[in-house]
């Protein structure tokens, strides 16, 4: 007997994991109000701009990058996270899911693959922060 399918969305079986939710729970509402809005010559609909607005804390460094849309300012945090993401996606160092970035770096060093020292330093700077410490997919069940 065929089951009558209700109009179910995929999000009913797989919970949505939103990046935005985390940052909101971490920072208080006061901090949100005090956030600096960085202007650049970029497109106002640029999603990156919105992400920056919700994630920048008042003391972070800001850098300007030239892209097709004009000058886009990128924070040091963003660059760091991008570098860590590239480290995760480099297949030469082995699988990245299930272990922390430090563990993976240590393993790559022991196997003689010469992982960049900058990656380890970046993770150690913010090792209490799970976004830095763990791999890209750490929130998903294995």
């Amino acid at each position: 007997m065929a089951k009558t399918k209700t109009k179910g969305l995929i999000t009913h079986s797989f919970k949505v994991v939103k990046r935005g939710k985390r940052s909101r729970s971490k920072k208080t509402k006061d901090q949100d109000a005090k956030k600096k809005v960085i202007c650049g010559f970029a497109n106002k609909n640029d999603k990156k701009q919105e992400w920056k607005k919700s994630h920048l804390s008042s003391g972070s460094k800001v850098r300007s990058l030239k892209t097709e849309n004009g000058l886009v300012t990128v924070s040091q945090e963003e660059l760091d996270l991008d570098m860590l993401k590239q480290f995760d996606l480099t297949w030469e160092y082995g699988p990245c899911i299930g272990i922390t970035r430090l563990q993976r770096w240590e393993r790559a060093r022991l196997l003689g693959l010469d992982p960049p020292v900058k990656v380890k330093e970046t993770v150690l700077k913010r090792k209490e922060d799970p976004i830095y410490l763990n791999s890209l997919w750490y929130e998903y069940p294995l």
């Binding site: 899911i97 299930g98 563990q103 393993r107 022991l110 196997l111 294995l142």
Partner: protein, 484 residues
């Protein structure tokens, strides 16, 4: 061979002057009047002992990982060894490529992990899937089938193998280097292949005098088999010097070490019935292994009071199931753990005893390869694992294994002098040689509960002999003359 007062016999099969011959040289002192002075024999001590099984100890365990890490580290670690062997075998100028760089028709060498696709391999997914309505498969002796195929995998891709490669001689998880070319069909035609072969061997610094080491496995306590208990008591009495005349006793004093290689408890102690019964029925019952462990404790206290004993856990012993098995806990042996001569060690076990490097397991790795390949002889499988450079390549595929991520401790880094496995069906030993001059003695230690045989190894010249025990009770000895 001698016959003692109570009609027990001890046979030792040997090829050159060994244990029993030395005993026979001394004068017979048993059938004589009791003497006023009792001769004592000092046991030879193990002069040097280093336990090298630290890589098999697990500290804090985390099971939130997949096994991909184990396979990845295995391949990454063994790749340079295999490239070196490939260059040695096929010349300096062969191209070593990864699978994504392969061109059709180009002869090259590829290094990767073998995956054996087996039709009959038990698959839990197939069993619990309701679509197929399959009943669970009964356990078989061998799971090989004609339609099995070999696939070579490296970090990114996989390719099917065909050609001069015996499919049933391989199991999943071995790292090999193949030499051949890719055909139009998309399969890789293998002309030759090679393993990592024996690693470098530390120098042998053995003792000058004859010193013996006893290897026993498969005691099988708690199995309800009374005959093997008799044989076991004979073994203990022989080792502790309570059997035989002065000649035998002085020879027994030269046994410096005993290794119990697994399966100390019988499979009968692992009854699963109590799990399914209702609580009120099983409330007052005790697990069968409790009595068996008490018996083992009594045996160990007799042994460790006299000689150094290393106890390795086996498949049916109360420790973790996955490889590497952790040592049995000392709280189970209140009587024997008082003695410092008792060492509870891991399975697999590696140690330097009197300058001789020992490496061995309780046999699960060998019996697993036996099930999934066409190799029948335990000694052949032992040699094969040594040449493949890995203790148990089938872990974690068909043999339970801890999800390692940092390194694979089963890769054989240094070639042992003695390589043994416990719970073999029969005693066998052989010496093999490596390309770089390594010499290894392979020993298949038989199961004591079935064969009543133990192995006596001479640490001076690395020769191994079986020692078998048999007892006969007065009931079945029909031709005993009782008429006077």
């Amino acid at each position: 061979m001698f016959v003692g007062l109570w009609g027990y016999t001890i046979k030792a099969a040997f090829s050159d002057a060994m244990f029993s011959d030395q005993a026979a040289q001394k004068k017979q002192t048993l059938m004589g009047p009791p003497s006023t002075e009792i001769p004592t024999f000092e046991r030879v001590q193990t002069s040097t002992y280093t336990n090298r099984s630290d890589c098999f100890r697990l500290g804090e365990r985390s099971f939130t990982r997949q096994y991909a890490h184990t396979y990845a580290t295995r391949l990454l670690k063994m790749r340079p060894l295999l490239v070196k062997r490939a260059i040695q075998k096929w010349g300096n100028d062969i191209p070593v490529k990864t699978l994504c760089e392969l061109q059709v028709g180009e002869i090259c060498c590829v290094v990767g992990t073998i995956f054996k696709h087996m039709e009959l391999q038990p698959s839990i997914l197939r069993e619990i899937s309701e679509e197929h309505n399959l009943l669970p498969q009964p356990p078989r002796a061998k799971y090989i089938h004609q339609t099995d195929e070999l696939i070579l995998e490296d970090e990114l891709q996989r390719i099917k193998l065909e050609g001069n490669i015996d499919i049933q001689h391989f199991v999943t998880g071995v790292i090999i280097a193949v030499y051949g070319s890719e055909k139009d069909s998309g399969k890789f035609f293998v002309e030759e292949f090679c393993f990592a072969d024996l690693p470098s061997q530390p120098p042998l610094m053995n003792s000058d005098a004859d010193k013996f080491l006893l290897l026993v496995s498969g005691l099988g306590l708690g199995g309800g088999n009374a005959d093997c208990l008799l044989g076991m008591q004979l073994l203990i009495d022989m080792v502790t010097g309570q059997l035989g005349d002065e000649g035998e006793q002085s020879s027994a004093a030269q046994i410096s070490h005993v290794i119990l290689a697994g399966n100390l408890l019988s499979p009968a102690t692992q009854s699963r019935d109590s799990l399914n019964k209702a609580k009120y029925l099983t409330k007052k019952t005790q697990a069968a292994s409790v009595e068996a462990i008490k018996l083992l404790d009594e045996i160990l206290v007799q042994l460790s009071a006299s000689v150094s004993v290393d106890v390795m856990p086996g498949e049916f012993d109360p420790t973790n199931y996955t490889y590497p098995q952790q040592p049995l806990h000392h709280c189970m042996f209140p009587l024997a753990s008082v003695y410092p001569t008792l060492q509870l060690v891991t399975n697999p076990y590696q140690a330097d005893i009197d300058g001789v490097r020992f490496l061995g397991t309780s046999g699960q790795n060998v019996s697993d390869i036996y099930k999934y390949s066409s190799m029948d002889d335990y000694l052949d499988i032992l040699e094969w694992t040594l040449r493949a450079g890995h203790l148990s390549p089938t872990a974690p595929d068909t043999l339970g294994c801890y999800p390692f991520y940092l390194e694979d401790p089963f890769i054989i880094k240094e070639c042992p002098h003695v390589y043994f496995c416990g719970n073999a069906p029969a005693f066998k030993c052989r010496e093999i040689r490596g390309v770089d001059g390594q010499k290894v003695l392979l020993v298949a230690v038989p199961e004591f509960s079935a064969t009543q045989t133990a192995c006596l190894l001479n640490l001076h010249n690395l020769q191994c002999h079986p020692v078998s025990f048999s007892g006969f009770s007065s009931m079945d000895d029909g031709d005993m003359d009782v008429s006077h």
